[in-house]
């Protein structure tokens, strides 16, 4: 039996167990989903089989970002998705909008931007021959940009065909302080349960998710007006500091990639010092640089899931994971992911 077949069999077994458990509990488990955030859709067969053994996964695929890069006078789509293999038949197209893009568009230009955005999404969906079940907007809006972003969403919503859901990513603080930050005019919210810390702070332990930080954000769910789905972080990255200053993220990065002791020296549980200048995944690092390796352990994620479930008045309909890359199957088992989904189901 080849590897793919073995993986597929194992996945099917896990999913069967999950469905048996669900029937026993009498609760419809949340639908699981994966985010795919790379610019080129070319997951390997084995990765696809691992992530979606039964073809039931809800895919959230980043189509493009909207930004106002250096040199541009108005927002433009950047890092547009390319596909080296067919995309899933049905998916949710995700679009990340930078605050810089919103700042660059005047209030009277918001509807035009929405129309352009939909035009490009539709073209891409048609070219890739996919059915859009959902469009998801991802923007960490600021109070000063709130009205503009919400106007953009309202204009965009009017263009969507019937049956296509409009969702928006929601940060934890936006639930806790919903009155202050506002609630976006969309059908659903996707709560991002990560980025709780300050990634650029050298002293930070883990900027992706700390349960102690999460506890501070567990209010406001009972009154939050949008139905919320959840997305959990299963990624790991290296945060590079040079002379104490944040330089860049190396994404993804695993402990194994820092195992060469001639180049890297472990300086604590999650910190590594660069011993000699070296290239690492396309980034040139200098001797003396510090790498903080960040990933959320399973136990932490499970505790966080339980905490969040207690805070939410009802289980989410969907639980997704951010995001699929070749390292995820090495770091996570189906059983672990199943238990996180289960923790959200009761």
């Amino acid at each position: 039996m080849n590897t793919i077949a073995k993986v597929t069999l194992l996945c099917s077994l896990c999913l069967s167990l999950l469905s048996v458990w669900s029937c026993r509990a009498g609760v419809e488990p949340p639908r699981t989903g994966w985010y795919y955030w790379q610019q080129r859709w070319q997951p390997s067969d084995s990765l696809l089989a691992w992530a979606d053994p039964e073809g039931k996964t809800q895919w959230y695929v980043r189509f493009f970002d909207i930004d106002t890069p250096e040199g541009a006078a108005a927002p433009v789509p950047v890092a547009r998705l390319e596909w080296g293999r067919p995309l899933p038949d049905t998916l949710a197209a995700a679009v990340f909008i930078t605050t810089r893009a919103l700042e660059a568009v005047p209030d009277e230009g918001v509807a035009h931007l929405a129309a352009k955005t939909w035009q490009l999404i539709e073209q891409m969906a048609r070219a890739a021959e996919v059915h859009l079940a959902e469009v998801q907007m991802d923007c960490d809006w600021t109070p000063s940009l709130r009205d503009r972003y919400f106007a953009f969403l309202s204009a965009f919503r009017q263009m969507l065909p019937a049956g296509c859901v409009l969702s928006a990513t929601i940060r934890l603080h936006q639930v806790k302080w919903a009155e202050r930050t506002g609630v976006p005019p969309v059908d659903r919210g996707m709560l991002m349960v990560y980025n709780t810390g300050r990634v650029q702070d050298l002293a930070e332990r883990n900027s992706i998710l700390e349960t102690e930080v999460l506890r501070r954000y567990l209010t406001g769910f009972d009154t939050y007006p949008l139905p919320l789905d959840l997305v959990w972080p299963v990624f790991g990255w290296g945060v590079v500091f040079r002379e104490g200053r944040f330089v860049r993220l190396i994404h993804p990065l695993s402990r194994a990639e820092l195992a060469d002791t001639a180049r890297f020296a472990q300086a604590g549980d999650y910190r590594f010092a660069v011993r000699q200048s070296t290239w690492l995944k396309g980034h040139y690092l200098y001797a003396g640089d510090t790498i903080r390796l960040e990933a959320v352990p399973f136990d932490t994620l499970l505790v966080a899931a339980r905490l969040l479930r207690q805070a939410m008045p009802r289980p989410p309909q969907r639980v997704a994971f951010y995001h699929l890359d070749e390292l995820v199957p090495q770091n996570w088992t189906h059983d672990q992911l199943r238990r996180i989904v289960e923790a959200m189901a009761h």
């Binding site: 250096e70 073209q123 200053r245 040139y284 200098y286």
Partner: protein, 775 residues
């Protein structure tokens, strides 16, 4: 109300705006943006363009001012270079704008019509091209090969350009490959090697954009040997590098990253207009790939270029790369390019660190300075010394200037001064001399440790007379911040304040120590600089105005004798300049801006007001039988002088209606557009309440008692607005509910004075009171 627009450090602008210097005032250019500038606030006296001859890439990593302009200029440069090459190679007589039109703007039909006309000369030049010198030349000379090429390029255009980023680019591989076949035929039949070169560019680009990477490489290998490099003058042309860019792109598409990166490095080296895109396309991921890429290089120039690309990363620590480049190609442009980059970074880290008023913000937000910036400056300085000692670089004065500036940055002012002196005789270019002047001034100002009249005079002369000050706009902040720091250290807070703000900013929240310090300086200006600082825009001494502010501060504290004493020093003829109010007016209306009475007897300037308050205090004690009246007048004055009264200007210089809704939280409000300046509202009604209560108790008539109780009730209500217990009402025009402790006098009125005429009148005229009375 004082309301004007201005910026901090206005004194320097004022100094500059003296008539003699008006034409020389430069527009500030340090509107930071670009890859590096994202809110950092510091100084720069470094003009990279003066240092580096090869400037095409500089703005990319120096974040110079206007990135939009830079990137647009890169695009324009590509087109301009292409037009120049067309002009130079095909028709030197043609106007560049005509070449531009035919190459970039004309449509296919126009070019085809030109082709038909040129082929037979039986038809004239098409109407749209009649005045086009380039088209006329091609027509007259029957340059059919060139026109055919232009027509072919037009056919390729839709497949290789993306005019709208919001539209998926057209990528019809079949159609694109059909065009490649057509182009190959044309290539073969074209005799001009230069036109063949242009066809090669079109074909390689088409194949690359069609995603046919293997075919792109094949095409390149098939086409390029068929072009005679001498006849095509490939050494002088942009096209070989443009073609190589697509070749490298195809290699990259095939996963042959090392080869691709090597070719991108060659483009970086040879083609300035594609340098930035070559840098971005360079894609080495591991040490092995890096070594392999180095192994592909044919000479040290290419190897040095790889290090230059690696060292050009925005956060690089480029000394490592500089050492390699120094060994490989010391006379090349890369060493100076990276030197400039590192100097620029260290300047941000270290220049003026001790006195930069934004240093804390830079540290918290941007981690500037970097942790080991000082040590790195020493390492770089050692390298610069080595370079100077070995004398292998072409521009020795630049390296000497770099040494002097590094010494300045790390605080070795004596050594820096000696180094700069050595350069003076070696620099002749005006731009470089000016740069040296700026650096010497940066050194000089950095080295000041205490403020003396001589230094003050030097600043005055520098700001007013030195052209370097105007050419380097950051000197404005640099001088101001340094002087502020020096004055603070010298215990001169007022002069420090004036170095950062126009004197009127004092009025938002006057502080006695600042007023006293400036007053002392104004009375005895020890230098031209101090004299300038302590005068207003018309050149008049600030002394009388400062005395007025000082008296106001005493008045706020009810220190009437002290206020009166201060006012005696202001010439009586000037008293009316500072204030005209009606502090004893009685009104039911809750308005602060009411037209002043025409009756001059009821108008007071501040001196008269202080005197009147002193008299009332005295008479209230001296005439116990009539003191209710005096207490009531005192109450009225102290009420009207608060934030809530129409004579608020007596105790304050600036009042904002917007503060109202937040008075329960604070009395200090940031002033929009005036960084670091806060406006304090004077809201305390307790003194007025005290006098109204005394007036009520002493008054004999119930009408007077009711009147005093009513005013006391207003004081209590205002105290509620400014207390932490205040809760804003649900709507803007709702009357807030007063807690019992803030409505004792309203209740008093209702229970004890409801039969008075005043009560009836108050109900009629005062909607507030009517509302409370109904409850």
């Amino acid at each position: 109300m004082i309301n004007y627009v201005g910026s901090s450090k206005r004194w320097l602008i004022r100094l500059l705006l003296m008539p003699a210097f008006l034409p020389l005032v430069p527009a500030p250019v340090h509107t930071g943006c670009g890859p590096f500038d994202s809110g950092f606030a510091g100084y720069s006296f470094f003009r990279p363009s003066v240092w580096v001859q090869e400037r095409a890439f500089l703005p990319f990593y120096l974040g110079i001012n206007d990135a939009v302009r830079y990137y647009r200029s890169v695009e324009q440069k590509k087109e301009r270079d292409n037009v120049m090459e067309w002009t130079e190679r095909v028709c030197r007589e043609a106007r560049p704008e005509d070449v531009y039109y035919l190459v970039y703007k004309a449509d296919l039909l126009e070019i085809q019509l030109l082709r038909s006309a040129a082929a037979t000369h039986k038809l004239p030049v098409p109407p749209g091209l009649t005045d086009n010198t380039f088209a006329e030349y091609l027509y007259a000379q029957r340059c059919l090969e060139t026109i055919d090429y232009l027509a072919f390029a037009k056919k390729c255009e839709p497949w290789v350009t993306a005019p709208d980023p919001w539209t998926l680019p057209a990528r019809d591989t079949v159609a694109m490959l059909a065009l490649v076949r057509e182009g190959r035929k044309a290539f073969r039949s074209t005799r001009s090697d230069y036109m063949r070169l242009r066809y090669a560019y079109q074909l390689v680009r088409l194949a690359h954009y069609a995603g046919q990477y293997e075919y792109t490489l094949e095409l390149y290998d098939w086409l390029m040997p068929k072009i005679d490099p001498d006849r095509a003058r490939m050494d002088d042309s942009l096209l070989p590098w443009w073609i190589l860019g697509h070749y490298a792109g195809a290699l990259h598409g095939l996963g042959r990253r090392v080869e691709a990166s090597y070719h991108f490095a060659r483009i970086f080296l040879h083609c300035p207009s594609r340098r930035e895109s070559a840098y971005r396309s360079f894609d080495i991921r591991t040490d092995e790939e890096w070594k392999a890429c180095l192994a592909l290089c044919v000479d040290d120039r290419e190897r040095a270029t790889l290090y230059a690309i690696r060292g050009s990363a925005p956060d690089s620590r480029a000394l490592e790369e500089m050492r390699h480049i120094y060994v490989l190609w010391p006379e090349g442009p890369w060493l100076e390019m990276l030197l400039v980059k590192e100097l620029h970074e260290l300047e941000r880290d270290l220049l003026g660190l001790a006195f930069n008023d934004r240093a804390e913000q830079n540290r918290l937000r941007y981690h500037i300075p970097r942790d080991r910036a000082g040590a790195y400056a020493i390492e770089l300085e050692a390298f610069v010394r080595q370079v100077l000692e070995e004398d292998r670089v072409p521009h020795r004065p630049l390296w000497l200037m770099a040494l002097g500036y590094l010494q300045t940055l790390r605080g070795d002012y004596y050594a820096a001064s000696r180094t700069f002196e050595k350069v003076v005789g070696q620099v002749s270019q005006p731009e470089l001399r000016e740069q040296l002047d700026a650096m010497q001034w940066a050194l000089r100002i950095s080295s000041w440790r205490e403020v003396t009249p001589e230094i003050e005079d030097e600043v005055f002369a520098f700001v007013r007379e030195n052209p370097v000050y105007r050419k380097y706009p950051d000197f404005q902040d640099f001088v101001a911040d340094k002087m502020t720091w020096l004055y603070r250290r010298a215990g001169r807070p007022g002069l420090a304040f004036l170095c950062q703000h126009p004197w009127r900013d004092l009025l938002y929240d006057p502080k006695m120590e600042l007023v006293d310090d400036i007053l002392a300086a104004a009375r005895n200006p020890r230098s031209r600089f101090v004299r300038w600082l302590t005068r207003d825009a018309d050149g008049n001494s600030l002394e009388p105005r400062l005395l007025d502010v000082k008296a106001t501060l005493y008045l706020q504290k009810n220190q009437l004798e002290a206020a009166w004493q201060v006012y005696q020093d202001i010439p009586r003829t000037r008293w009316d300049e500072f204030l005209q109010v009606e502090p004893f007016a009685v009104s039911f209306a809750e308005r602060v801006h009411v037209p002043l009475s025409l009756d001059s007897a009821s108008m007071y300037n501040r001196g008269e007001l202080i005197k009147e308050l002193l008299d009332l205090e005295y008479r209230s004690r001296a005439e116990p039988d009539r003191n209710a009246r005096y207490f009531f007048r005192l109450g009225l004055a102290w009420y009207n002088m608060t934030y809530f009264g129409q004579a608020w200007k007596a105790l304050d210089y600036y009042r904002s209606g917007a503060s109202w809704s937040r008075l329960y939280e604070t009395q200090l409000f940031p002033v929009p557009g005036r960084e670091g300046i806060f406006n304090r509202e004077y809201t305390d009604c307790n003194r007025a309440l005290y006098y109204f209560e005394k007036a009520r108790l002493q008054a004999r008539s119930r009408e007077s008692q009711a009147k005093a109780a009513f005013m006391a009730a207003r004081c209590e209500r205002n105290n509620y607005f400014t207390s932490p217990e205040y809760r804003p009402p649900p709507c803007d025009d709702c009357i807030p509910v007063l807690p019992p402790q803030f409505r004792t006098h309203y209740d008093l009125l209702r229970y004890y004075y409801s039969d008075t005429e005043f009560y009836r009148q108050a109900i009629e005229e005062c909607s507030w009171f009517a509302a409370y009375a109904r409850r």
